[in-house]
C-alpha cells in the first residue's frame, strides 16, 4: 500500500505552523512505507495548515492541523483508519469556497512539489513549449491573441499584441522580463504562483522567448519573498539541467538564458520603465514613453514585460488550446482571474474565478460574507492604484471594463473586503499615505500634489476640515492624475476619488458634524461606559494606560474624556460589552 503525506508549505501555511507539523512527521514517520512530501499553498488559507493523505491514489485533506492532530493522523495512517474530523472537503464552507472556482493559472498550486521538476512534468508540464517549438513564432502569437489573454498585472493589455510588438522590433538582442515585484499591499497572487508552481512561469517565458525571438530573460522578484526566490532558483537550475533553458533548447537551436533579479523594495518598480531602470542597477525611476520597452528596454534593447500570472497562463493555452481559455468570457475579458481575497470575510484565501462572476458571488458565496456580523460596506480592488467599490455595486461582474466603470481597476488581484467598522476617509488616507511615500519624486504633481492631498485628509480626520477642502481635494485629484508621468501618479488619486464618489456623506460627517461614523478617527470619537451594563469589575480601569477610568468595585465606572486617548484597550477588555464608541 502506497501512502503519501503531503504538507502544504506556502508562506502562510508556514506562518500558521505547517513547518512544525512537517518536522513532526519527519521525525516520527520512521522507516515505514509512508512517504512525506511537501506542496505549496492550495489557496484555502482559512484552513491552514493543511495536510493531505493519499492512500493508493485516494486523497483526503485535513485542515487546521497542529502537532497533536498530526500524531492522530499518523496513528490513523498506520491503523488504516483516518480521523473523521478536520476533513476540509466535508466542510460546507470549503465546498462553497471551491465550488465556483476555475483553476488555470493556479492549476498546480498546492498539488505538486514545486521543488521537483518531475512532478511538474508529470502534470503535462513543458508540453506547451514542445508544442510551441513545432509552430512558428507568428502562429504562437496568433494563438495567444485568439485566447484573448490580457495582462494580469492590472493594465489589461492584450498579451499576444504585446508579443507581436517585440517580435516586430528591430535588433539582434531582445529581452523578456517577468514582473514579480508584487508591491500591492494586500495581494499575494504572484507569490503563491512562484512558490507553488515556478516552472509554469519559466515555461510561459520560454514560449514567449520562442515566439518573440528573445534570448535572455529576467524575473524581477521582490526580496520580501524569500521562499519564492528560493524555489525559483531551484526551478531554473533544474530546467537548465534538463536542457529546457540554456543553449539549443530541446535540440531546437533556440537559446534562452534566464536570470533572477532581486528587487530592493520600491513600489514604483511595478511600472515597466522603472523596473527596467532597476534591472540596470539604477534608481527605479520611470521615464517617458515612447520609446516603449518593445523598442528600447533593458540595456536599450527591445524588451517585453509581463506579470507572473500572465506567463503562468501561457503553457495552459498552448497545451489545451485557445478555446479552453476563452470559453470563460464576459465582454472583452477572457479566461480567469486570480484574487487574493482578504479582509472581513469568513473565508479568506487565494481564489481563481472565471470572468463574469460577480463581486457579490466572490464575497458572499466564496468568502462566506461578513466575518464580524457587521454589514459589509465595500471591497477595495487594485490596491493603492484602485478604488473602493460600495456594497450597492457588488453585482458588478469581474471584467476589465465593468470594474473600470466603477472608478476602481481590475488591478493585479488584491480584493479586500471592508465592513462598517472601516472609515472610508481613513481608508483613502491609508492608500494615499502609501503612494505618497512611494512616489519616486520625479513629477511635481505626484510628489507635491499627493502631499497636499494627504494634508487635507489629515485635516478632515482631525475634525478640522472645511467644505472648501473637499473641492480642493477633487481638483488636486484631477490634476495629479492628469499630470503624472507613470501609472503610480496617474492612479494615486483613485482611492480618494472613489471614496468621494460613493462615501461622500462620510467626508461630510467628519467636516460638518465633527463625527466619524465608523468610530475610527480618534479626535472625532468619545469612549463611554454604559452605566446599565457596567458591573464594576474594574478590568477596564486596570488596563487603561492613562488612568482615565475611575470608579469603585461593583459600581459603574466612568471615563474622563479629557484624559482618554481613545486607544480602545478598555473595549477589548470589557466582558460585558459595556463600553462603546460614540
Amino acid at each position: 500500500m502506497k501512502t503519501d503525506i503531503i504538507v502544504g508549505l506556502g508562506s502562510c501555511g508556514i506562518a500558521s505552523g505547517a513547518q512544525e507539523v512537517y518536522d513532526f512527521f519527519e521525525k516520527n514517520i520512521g522507516g515505514s512505507d509512508v512517504a512525506l512530501k511537501k506542496t505549496s499553498c492550495i489557496g484555502i488559507c482559512f484552513q491552514e495548515p493543511i495536510v493531505e493523505v493519499v492512500i493508493n491514489g485516494v486523497k483526503t485533506a485535513f485542515g487546521k492541523v497542529d502537532t497533536a492532530f498530526a500524531e492522530k493522523l499518523l496513528a490513523g495512517v498506520r491503523s488504516g483508519r483516518l480521523p473523521e474530523t478536520n476533513r476540509i472537503f466535508d466542510d460546507e464552507g470549503t465546498k462553497s469556497f471551491v465550488g465556483p472556482q476555475v483553476k488555470i493559472a493556479l492549476k498546480n498550486c498546492g498539488k505538486i512539489d514545486p521543488e521537483n521538476i518531475d512532478e511538474y512534468i508529470a502534470t503535462g508540464g513543458y508540453e506547451g513549449i514542445k508544442k510551441a517549438l513545432a509552430m512558428t513564432g507568428d502562429e504562437v502569437i496568433a494563438l495567444l491573441k485568439e485566447s484573448g489573454l490580457k495582462g494580469r498585472g492590472g493594465a489589461g493589455f492584450l498579451t499576444g499584441q504585446k508579443w507581436a510588438f517585440l517580435k516586430g522590433a528591430k535588433g539582434d538582442k531582445k529581452y523578456l522580463v517577468c514582473n514579480a515585484d508584487e508591491g500591492d499591499p494586500g495581494a499575494f497572487m504572484d507569490r503563491a504562483i512562484l512558490e507553488g508552481d515556478p516552472h509554469s512561469v519559466i515555461e510561459g517565458m520560454l514560449i514567449g522567448a520562442w515566439a518573440t525571438g528573445a534570448d535572455e530573460g529576467y524575473i524581477y522578484c521582490r526580496a520580501e519573498y524569500p521562499l519564492a526566490l528560493k524555489r525559483l532558483k531551484i526551478a531554473i537550475e533544474a530546467a537548465e539541467k534538463r536542457n529546457l533553458l540554456g543553449d539549443n533548447i530541446l535540440g531546437s537551436g533556440k537559446n534562452f538564458v534566464l536570470h533572477v533579479k532581486e528587487g530592493a523594495g520600491a513600489f514604483v518598480c511595478g511600472e515597466e520603465t522603472a523596473l527596467i531602470a532597476s534591472i540596470e542597477g539604477k534608481r527605479g525611476m520611470p521615464h517617458l514613453r515612447p520609446p516603449f520597452p518593445a523598442e528600447s528596454g533593458v540595456n536599450s534593447k527591445p524588451t517585453n514585460i509581463n506579470n507572473v500570472e500572465t506567463y503562468a497562463n501561457v503553457p495552459r493555452i498552448l497545451t489545451s488550446g485557445a478555446a479552453s481559455f476563452n470559453k470563460y468570457s464576459y465582454g472583452q475579458s477572457f479566461g480567469t482571474k486570480v484574487f487574493a481575497l482578504a479582509g472581513k470575510v469568513k473565508r479568506v484565501g487565494l481564489v481563481e474565478v472565471p470572468m463574469g462572476l460577480t463581486i457579490r458571488e466572490i464575497v458572499e458565496k466564496i468568502g462566506g460574507g461578513s466575518s464580524t456580523g457587521l454589514p459589509l460596506k465595500a471591497v477595495q480592488m487594485g490596491g493603492p492604484a484602485g478604488g473602493c467599490i460600495p456594497e450597492s455595486l457588488f453585482d458588478t461582474p469581474i471584467d476589465y471594463a465593468s470594474i473600470g466603470a466603477t472608478g476602481a481597476i481590475m488591478g493585479s488581484g488584491g480584493m479586500i473586503v471592508m465592513d462598517s467598522s472601516s472609515c472610508m476617509v481613513d481608508v483613502a488616507k491609508y492608500f494615499l499615505q502609501f503612494t505618497q511615500a512611494e512616489s519616486c519624486g520625479k513629477c511635481t504633481f505626484c510628489r507635491i500634489g499627493t502631499k497636499r492631498m494627504m494634508e487635507i485628509l489629515e485635516r478632515i480626520t482631525q475634525g478640522e476640515g472645511t467644505m472648501e477642502d473637499l473641492a480642493l481635494l477633487e481638483e488636486l485629484a484631477d490634476v495629479v492624475g492628469k499630470s503624472s508621468l507613470c501609472g503610480l501618479g496617474q492612479l494615486a488619486p483613485n482611492p480618494v476619488k472613489t471614496t468621494l464618489r460613493y462615501f461622500r456623506d462620510e467626508y461630510i460627517a467628519h467636516i460638518k458634524d465633527k463625527k466619524c461614523p465608523a468610530g475610527v478617527c480618534k479626535p472625532l470619537i468619545t469612549i463611554e461606559i454604559e452605566k446599565e451594563k457596567c458591573k464594576g469589575c474594574t478590568a477596564c480601569s486596570k488596563v487603561c494606560p492613562v488612568q482615565a477610568i475611575s470608579g469603585s468595585v461593583k459600581q459603574p465606572h466612568v471615563i474622563d474624556p479629557a484624559k482618554c486617548i481613545r486607544c480602545k484597550m478598555c473595549i477589548e477588555k470589557c466582558k460585558f460589552g459595556a463600553i462603546r464608541v460614540i
Binding site: 506562518a15 499591499p185 532581486e262 532597476s278 542597477g281 534608481r283 491609508y430 519616486c440
Partner: protein
C-alpha cells in the same frame, strides 16, 4: 588609492564582495544587498571600499541605496520587529498595534532602541493576509495579533 579606506581589512572584504557578486554597474543593487547581508546595514567604509574596487563612484552607490526601502544606513537591533501594514492588516487593526509597539519600546517606527535590543519597522505587506493582523519578529510570522499578545511577545524577546 588605498588611503581612501580606513584599513586594508575593509579593502580585502570589498574585494571578496566584488569577486562574489561582480563589479559592473548593473550589479550595484546586488552589491549593496551583499554589503547589507554582511554588515546588517550599508556600512560606509565597506560601500566606499566596494566603490574603490569597482571604480564606480561612491555617489552612485549612495544614490541607489537611498532610493530603495530595503537599504538602511544604521545598524540593526538584535531583534527585528516588522509590523505589517498591508491593506488586510490595516483593515484588521494594524494602527493600534503599531501604536502599542511604539509605546512599549519607546521608539518610533524605523528606529532602534538605545540598548540595541529592538528595531521596529513598518512593512507594507508580508503576504500572510489570511492571518491579519500579522507581526514578523526575526523572520517568524505571528498572526491574528492583539496588543496584549504583542507586548507579551516583545517581553519574551527582550529576555
Amino acid at each position: 588609492m588605498k588611503d581612501k579606506c580606513c584599513c586594508n581589512g575593509v579593502l580585502d572584504e570589498a574585494k571578496e564582495v566584488v569577486a562574489h557578486i561582480g563589479g559592473t554597474k548593473d550589479r550595484i543593487i546586488p552589491l549593496l544587498q551583499e554589503i547589507q547581508r554582511r554588515r546588517g546595514y550599508l556600512a560606509e567604509d565597506l560601500v566606499n571600499g566596494v566603490a574603490e574596487v569597482t571604480g564606480i563612484k561612491p555617489a552612485e552607490f549612495f544614490s541607489v541605496g537611498t532610493f530603495y526601502s530595503q537599504f538602511r544606513f544604521t545598524p540593526l537591533g538584535k531583534n527585528i520587529v516588522k509590523m505589517c501594514k498591508g491593506t488586510a492588516c490595516f483593515v484588521a487593526g494594524a494602527d493600534p498595534l503599531i501604536d502599542a509597539a511604539e509605546s512599549y519600546l519607546g521608539i518610533k517606527s524605523g528606529e532602534t532602541t538605545p540598548d540595541g535590543m529592538f528595531t521596529l519597522e513598518i512593512v507594507s505587506c508580508l503576504g500572510c493576509c489570511s492571518l491579519a493582523p500579522v507581526v514578523m519578529i526575526n523572520g517568524k510570522v505571528y498572526g491574528k495579533m492583539t496588543r496584549a499578545r504583542l507586548t507579551q511577545l516583545l517581553e519574551e524577546y527582550r529576555k
